[in-house]
Symmetry: C2
Amino acid sequence: MKDKKKGAQTLAFRHAPVILAASSIVGPMEGKGPLGEYFDEVRDDHLWGQKTWEKAESKLLEDAVLKVLQKAEIPKHLVDFLFAGDLLNQITVSNFAAGQLSIPFIGVYGACSTFTESIALGAMAIDGGYAGVVAAATSSHHDAAERQYRYPTEFGVQRLPTAQWTATAAGAALLAGAGDGPRVTYATVGKVVDFGIKDPNNMGAAMAPAAADTMRQHLHDTGRSASYYDLIVTGDLGRVGQPLARDILKGDGIDVSENFADCGILIYSEDQDVHAGGSGCGCSAAVFGGYLMHRLEKGDLKRILLVSTGALHSPTTYLQGESMPAVAHAVAIERQ
Amino acid sequence: MKDKKKGAQTLAFRHAPVILAASSIVGPMEGKGPLGEYFDEVRDDHLWGQKTWEKAESKLLEDAVLKVLQKAEIPKHLVDFLFAGDLLNQITVSNFAAGQLSIPFIGVYGACSTFTESIALGAMAIDGGYAGVVAAATSSHHDAAERQYRYPTEFGVQRLPTAQWTATAAGAALLAGAGDGPRVTYATVGKVVDFGIKDPNNMGAAMAPAAADTMRQHLHDTGRSASYYDLIVTGDLGRVGQPLARDILKGDGIDVSENFADCGILIYSEDQDVHAGGSGCGCSAAVFGGYLMHRLEKGDLKRILLVSTGALHSPTTYLQGESMPAVAHAVAIERQ
């Protein structure tokens, strides 16, 4: 049985699962960003031969899984389960990719928090002894998300300064019970937090309290201080949400002024005209699969807390005048 | 470590988690059906004081969780995790309910297979020692689903004979490591199976191969014969899909002629004008939470295999001419 002192909101892995490899495939704009060189693959356009953006995203997710298998030199039939999700209605991207991959499939949804949700579940399956190897993968596609959540993509509607840019990106992590690589030591499952924010062009503000809540809970449950981590990286609070989360934590006496980064800020440069930064299930997945995993493997990062954050609104509830609940899930990833 | 002979597609629980209680709340039409007397609550209309069908469904899911806590006499703060999902875009119903309940939340999506997916994950969390008590809950709402998947509900568009009727229903199960109640002994996670069926008015045909695939895999992995179970109950293949699944299994030498039922057929009577039967994430959840749990508690059922089945299409992919992938997850529930 797990150490009850740790608190049930945080899963403490006894034999911390190893991340054998991680992958990242991105679109042209993400490739031109500051992390471009770290991604496994940068694609030239938004369709890569597919008929629709939705199919293109599904191929992106499928390819991210195939890429991580190739990198780890693990054949597909050895993967026991695929944990995956995405932003599109009915997580259609993941469903079709899972059909192509033919790996037993657990579909999850946590908006942009889906990547760490998938890793948390995958780590539980490995550590609990229910699986030998699992893949956790998520994706997003700017054009497909834009037309679903906001306006027809071709409108090119003027964006607000607080708006975030859905990344065209996918990432996958391959987890196993043994092998070389950084390990998933803890996972903190978030509560849904709703501060009553109703503007889908300001997701950062809606997600910041959820991110702070999960981070606070994680530190409480593990007995760690924020400075334990070389880097605490939120999913995509962006330039609006990240300072808010920092301030909320400061109010709780938690100082993250030295080691707090955000995937939504890291993925684009300020001159890329993305306003508040990147977002999308693929954002933290690709930033982890490319940049963060590279730094963990190189050894200049040894302990990170990845906190993917999700705004859980839907276009329907937004139009009905409802607020935007949010959630964040945190995974501690550490190497010797 | 798990017994590798069982095959990783099937989770074998060492200390099979107990279902302490299950709940079911349904709409008026489901209340008038043959299982009406078994449900905890039958509601009079489709809004019960809420402003929208979406909010009404969210309340339904929240209330199903509160009801199961009440039945098990477990206070809410003892529930470590809520595993939940629904049919609406961005599983918005579950997100809002999780916000109200303030229980650490894992959002899942498997269309109408979501109930057994949630139970499988919840059982893994309990059996693996990561949680003491978890809730697994799903819901659907006829009017909310109708306008999202098909036509504006008020159209009252003529339905095809192969179409299924989304049930207005929610169900929840409360799982724990110890206590009285039937136990979840195995869970078989399905692969996504796509037979190329493109007609969303014939979900039964799309789901039947996935149901048969998971059932076949479950029997293979556990070494059991179909006759081991007093009842094998699919989620909602309906009157079109169930005979197809039976025939596919017969072709594989698996005889389920004596013990095969379907929640989508059980929930409505033939004269209720639902054509091929019921569907929706809430269908198998409420049929389990009401009728099946009652029979398990009474003891006239001792071993059941619940196989919730999901059609994984989205209205977008349907309009783009894509097929309907499908998945089914099976959980074995047994009592002494």
